[in-house]
Symmetry: C2
Amino acid sequence: MRAVDLIRKKRDGAELTPEEVAWIVARYTAAEVGDDQMAAFAMAVFFRGMGGPELAALTGAMMASGDVIDLSSVRGVKVDKHSTGGVGDKISICLAPLVAACGVPVPMISGRGLGHTGGTLDKLSAIPGFSVDLDAARFIAQVREHGIALIGQTERLVPADRKLYALRDVTATIESIPMISASIMSKKLAEGIDALVLDVKVGSGAFMKTLEDARALAKTMISIGERMGKRVRALLTDMDRVLGRAVGNANETWEAIEVLRGGGPSDVVELTVELGAEMLILGRVAESLEDGKTRIRRAIADGRGLERLARCVEAQGGDPRALEARDRLPTARRSKEVALGVGGTIERFDTEAVGRAGMLLGAGRERSSDRINLSVGIEMMVAPGDRIGPDQPIARLDYDDDDRFDRAAAALRSALVIGEGPAPARPLIFARLGGEA
Amino acid sequence: MRAVDLIRKKRDGAELTPEEVAWIVARYTAAEVGDDQMAAFAMAVFFRGMGGPELAALTGAMMASGDVIDLSSVRGVKVDKHSTGGVGDKISICLAPLVAACGVPVPMISGRGLGHTGGTLDKLSAIPGFSVDLDAARFIAQVREHGIALIGQTERLVPADRKLYALRDVTATIESIPMISASIMSKKLAEGIDALVLDVKVGSGAFMKTLEDARALAKTMISIGERMGKRVRALLTDMDRVLGRAVGNANETWEAIEVLRGGGPSDVVELTVELGAEMLILGRVAESLEDGKTRIRRAIADGRGLERLARCVEAQGGDPRALEARDRLPTARRSKEVALGVGGTIERFDTEAVGRAGMLLGAGRERSSDRINLSVGIEMMVAPGDRIGPDQPIARLDYDDDDRFDRAAAALRSALVIGEGPAPARPLIFARLGGEA
């Protein structure tokens, strides 16, 4: 087999055999096929797409490029959730302990934030002492004992994806639904899960800007999962809004804790309940969506979710007292409210710009090597549809540095689109996709 | 400027500015943009093509990546010819001295053969002592003194093309008309010429299999030339045949010498006269095609073409007596005729297979690092349209090695398509393209 022939075949629109796909991924991971050939292949895939068997083979080959965690010693149906990323998305932090508390083991491997989107690992790092660097043995043991572990990617998992993603990043081949799908699914399947709920974000703050693209991505990932014997369901959810009010790290973690304490913004609660119900169905604990939602709500109300997060925090070296009071999490030195200067109705958010404002404040990374400040963040005080006056505060910024405040405030002001009429109502959940529950 | 943004722009179908094109070529040549990014860019160009200004900028940037020969000290309009490559194409060897003899300076830089196509440099190397490795100063001086020089590419000319071609070769991005055009034209324009005649081959032995593709390639190259202030004309000529009878190196050189001596196969003579007339028109020596043809024929008849080649050979260290007798050129040890074993009418040649037979005999290279045997070759004894008997020889093979003979003979037999009816007549010249002469 020669890489150039496989590139030509894909370039000319043919489907590669599973053997051919496995060959090129394995050779690339072993550095026997170079970045030049893989870049040309990726660009050919960008233009030609990939068929179902081809894509399952790509996902399988990437998954098999490193260790695959064996969770067979954990009883029950292991279910994880993956979000394609947005602004203010702290759902994992309240969702995982609630689902675990309802009896479904959640082995969750998350990522760091980049650009305008935050990352669950960064948010969790705001909990004093909490370690996200567990090896596979400890990860498995903790899922077995507590039904939940929240960790970061290890070097040994899916090296092909790390290598290929870095290449795609510099060769303008990120924006390919087949390759995005294979990247996400290979990482999730390497966790050793049985089933997966996808939260595919759509809107100005999401990677997928249109419902059509989001639906295509969801369908592709569901199809990969099914071909690999895993049950996958997907919710398409709104990212033309900030999810909840908090954008940052410590403040987002606290907002998720508030949900577990029975409070929190209604959209964060709603999405947690909906995604949790789907996970309970896949985990064979709930019989219906209604049953699932009731179970999640009960685990909030009686404090079992909070208690489960406390166990997880303690097991991973963190201070569970951080779940009791906001001031046990990192806190910024200063706070100031920001007004828009003009009045009107907020027609919509450029949610990506809100995320960028958070990044400028120091809460996010422009490059993956950047250091972030866990204590700073934005607290949104308005929502799309609100009628505001010119001096009415739109958000509170918690900050350490005046320069950063100024840049973040300017970005935030530019993120609000003001009009005269009422804002069109957008649902939180656009669609549910996926096979039998 | 960032390479990833330029790749994305091209990927999404936009035209790059001339500055952007110049930037990426210069950075790639300097190894500041890597093979990975350039491979993705090349694949994006494969799918999206390039517009006129973009392509002129690409050609100009590649040309400017190395030295550009300054022929301003040579009087007259300097004209070269380029063939896109075929089987039995020895035209340059008789054409260049004839045109020079008619008063138009010909600064010709040629290439080596690869795969089924031969190369002028290899054929010229069959002349004892002849050196094709002249530096720019000697090249210029020889064109000034003798009106002709026949040399090979130097390291200092168009390094971007060498680097990019090698990359395209392993990334399945050779087959792109814009990139083929820029590659050819950058090399030709770096010679310092004023005008160029293109012989764009079409058919089974050519890179372009269809008239449509050949026409597109010719038009693209003409347009690049015009944008860069050079006059370019193109002939689309048949490569569903072997040009002349000889396929090899010494034998092809001798066939070209025969043309200069007033003999040679009629198609080789005809194409030489036609291309020569075009060059004389571009060189402002002939007033019309008829005038040009008459001048070329006269330079054959009175021996001025042969005399000019002798001067060129002598100036480049070769033995001009090689032009007097076939046995002063390398000669193979054995000769044997090959019959087909079945009778019928030759409907057509798979000309590429004939070229491959020559390569198997040792006359060509499978890889650019292969050594070739200058003395071996094929002498075709039939042509498309001929009616042959089963034992009638189709060709004579001059060879040194029995194994190679067997493989070449088998390839050659498979190259002839036999039918019952008469073969459709194909003209030698399909079309003439290009602006005012």
